[in-house]
């Protein structure tokens, strides 16, 4: 019996060691911190003010991050089948764990949204499962980013603010490619954490003025959705890259 154990160990353990040695890889954690004016977001209970002096609260904040793509040592590293739904309500969704080759990383790119192919390829699972409440059932396609809340400036029922931003077909396309500089070494024996801020206050302005009083609701693809997406495409920035000792 003991011999059997050694026999299996002899087979299994070198295999594990060997496969690890083949590709020098490092663990990378990408964390998203949702903020308003650089202060971490608090749902429901905190009132925020946009550039037009309109007060608002946030009850829901979700967005898709997909097609991760990094540049290291002049080489492109695409993370296959990378689809993540960041949901402010669910802490686990705010970190992405990756295993990447070691190297000097210049930049991180991703799509804010879901690529058009996945919008036309039928039923998906995982982050893209339609039960995640980010899928339009009457006009097929993903909601790329969702912001809901309330505002005294809103003229719709219960002073709601509701932005469901989607659209993937050419004229309606709101999918944004985001590229963030990294300029950091990623080493084998440390976990590198890349902390990315997503600031909600970018949604209301630059280049397009979005006043809650005039546009409290956007739940269709189209001109307004594209304007809001143009604004929020600038919500991300890398605020910290650290290598906490382990």
């Amino acid at each position: 019996m003991v011999r059997l154990f050694y026999f299996i160990s002899a087979l299994v353990f070198p295999a594990i060691l060997f496969s690890q040695k083949k590709v020098p890889a490092a663990n990378v954690k990408i964390s998203f911190v949702n903020t308003v004016n650089h202060v971490p977001l608090v749902l429901d209970s905190v009132t925020y003010t946009n550039a037009f002096a309109e007060n608002y609260t946030v009850s829901k904040f979700k967005y898709y991050i997909s097609n991760l793509f990094l540049v290291a040592d002049k080489k492109n590293i695409a993370v296959k089948e990378s689809y993540y739904l960041v949901d402010e309500k669910d802490t686990a969704t705010k970190s992405i764990l990756l295993t990447l080759p070691v190297g000097n990383y210049e930049s991180l790119s991703f799509l804010l949204g879901v690529d058009s192919l996945k919008n036309v390829s039928g039923a998906q699972s995982g982050a893209l499962d339609p039960t995640n409440d980010m899928f339009w059932t009457w006009n097929t396609g993903y909601v790329m980013a969702k912001l809901e809340g309330n505002s005294p400036a809103s003229t719709v029922v219960n002073n709601k603010v509701e932005y469901h931003i989607g659209g993937f077909a050419s004229a309606d396309n709101v999918i944004k490619k985001i590229t963030l500089p990294l300029n950091t070494n990623i080493n084998k024996d440390t976990v590198t954490e890349i902390i990315i801020e997503a600031d909600i206050n970018t949604w209301w302005q630059i280049p397009n003025d979005i006043l809650i009083a005039a546009n409290a609701v956007c739940t269709n693809p189209g001109v307004l959705a594209k304007k809001i997406a143009a604004n929020y495409s600038k919500m991300f920035s890398v605020i910290k890259i650290s290598t906490p000792a382990n």
């Binding site: 019996m1 003991v2 036309v120 039928g122 039923a123 499962d129 339609p130 059932t137 097929t140 396609g141």
Partner: protein, 341 residues
């Protein structure tokens, strides 16, 4: 310590071996989508990411007929898509939904969906797999939410086994449910009407049917193109807007005013079984629907289809012959097939 590890390892091996023994091997029976002779290939392979199997088809069939997919258990897919009406709602302009509601459009029949790149009257659905999400969650249809349906299916004694037979494990998720439904609905192919038999040399038209067919080819087939009897386009056929529904059709999806009042050209296969007609079921008889094209078309609508700007000239005899021909498009092999029931 060493012994304890050994015991643990042995237990693991025994349990693993046992688990392998219990689970029957996953060997689904592959199926091929019927592509009738002389038909074009479907515009895309709807089963590219969803290999069609007998087990998947059977699971989809069970789901299609299962009322538990609706909130109160009363509204299976099949309650509005009835086989004897070529999977349309028989004799209903609008179908009934949860809590004494009506739908807002006439339920389309379900067949030859593999040849239909966009689904719904307004073409809002781009893949057969995601279509069921719409009726399942609509408050005036099945009124359910998907998570709740999945909970019901997981609790059921039969479904986990059927999911395993179809997909290899007993995991029940939305993707598998939707893929199974697509295996069933996409496999419904209507190709055994009298018209088809005439095309295959197995039957002959009566003189009236033949005259109706000749008229059809001259005046109708521009939009209702053979062999599918639709060109899958969106057109305005010149009806007054329904003042209650204010349904502008395709424009709702594209928000392009050139698409105002355009609806999907429906297939005329099984047309005599799928009354009432048009997106709002406003014409109860096939004669009334034809009369619309003879005399009813509102020719001043800016988006009216150019082929209809002079309406369709048609004498009474031609109309009668046309109706005789349209009856030959009824496929009772489909409506009576136990395969789909």
């Amino acid at each position: 310590m060493k012994q304890r590890i050994t015991i643990l390892l042995l237990v693991f091996i025994i349990v693993a071996a046992f688990a392998v023994d219990i689970a029957p091997p996953y060997k689904p029976t592959p199926l091929k989508l019927i592509i009738p002779k002389g038909w074009p290939q479907p515009p895309k392979n709807i089963y590219a990411g969803n290999p069609l199997t007998e087990e998947g088809f059977q699971l989809g069939k069970k789901l299609f007929y299962d009322g538990r997919l609706s909130k109160d258990g009363n509204f299976a897919c099949a309650s509005c898509h009835q086989q004897f009406a070529a999977f349309a709602s028989y004799d209903h302009d609008f179908s009934h939904g949860f809590n004494n509601t009506f739908t807002t459009r006439n339920a389309p029949p379900l067949f030859n969906l593999a040849w239909s790149p966009l689904l719904h009257w307004d073409g809002g659905i781009n893949h057969i797999e995601v279509q069921p999400l719409s009726p399942l969650t609509a408050a005036n249809e099945m009124a359910e939410n998907i998570d709740s349906v999945l909970i019901k299916l997981r609790k059921d004694t039969a479904y986990p086994k059927l999911f395993r037979a179809a997909f290899g494990t007993n995991v029940i998720n939305s993707q598998r449910m939707l893929k199974a439904l697509a295996q069933f609905t996409g496999s419904i192919v209507s190709y055994n009407s009298k018209y088809d038999k005439v095309q295959r040399g197995e039957a002959t038209f009566t003189p009236a049917e033949q005259k109706g067919y000749d008229f059809f080819k001259a005046k109708c087939s521009g939009c209702h193109t053979e062999p599918l009897f639709t060109d899958n386009s969106f057109r305005n056929n010149g009806m007054a807007i329904n003042s209650f529904l204010k349904d502008y059709g395709r424009m709702k999806i594209t928000r392009n005013k050139n698409d105002s009042l355009k609806f999907k050209v429906p297939s005329l296969r099984n047309v005599t079984l799928t009354f009432p007609y048009m997106h709002d079921g406003r014409f109860y008889s096939i004669g009334n629907a034809i009369d619309h094209y003879r005399t009813g078309i509102i020719t001043t609508q800016p988006t009216l289809d150019t082929a209809l700007k002079n309406r369709i000239a048609m004498g009474n005899t031609e109309k009668n012959n046309l109706i005789y021909f349209l009856y030959t498009l009824a496929d009772t092999t489909l409506t009576k097939s136990l395969r789909y029931h």
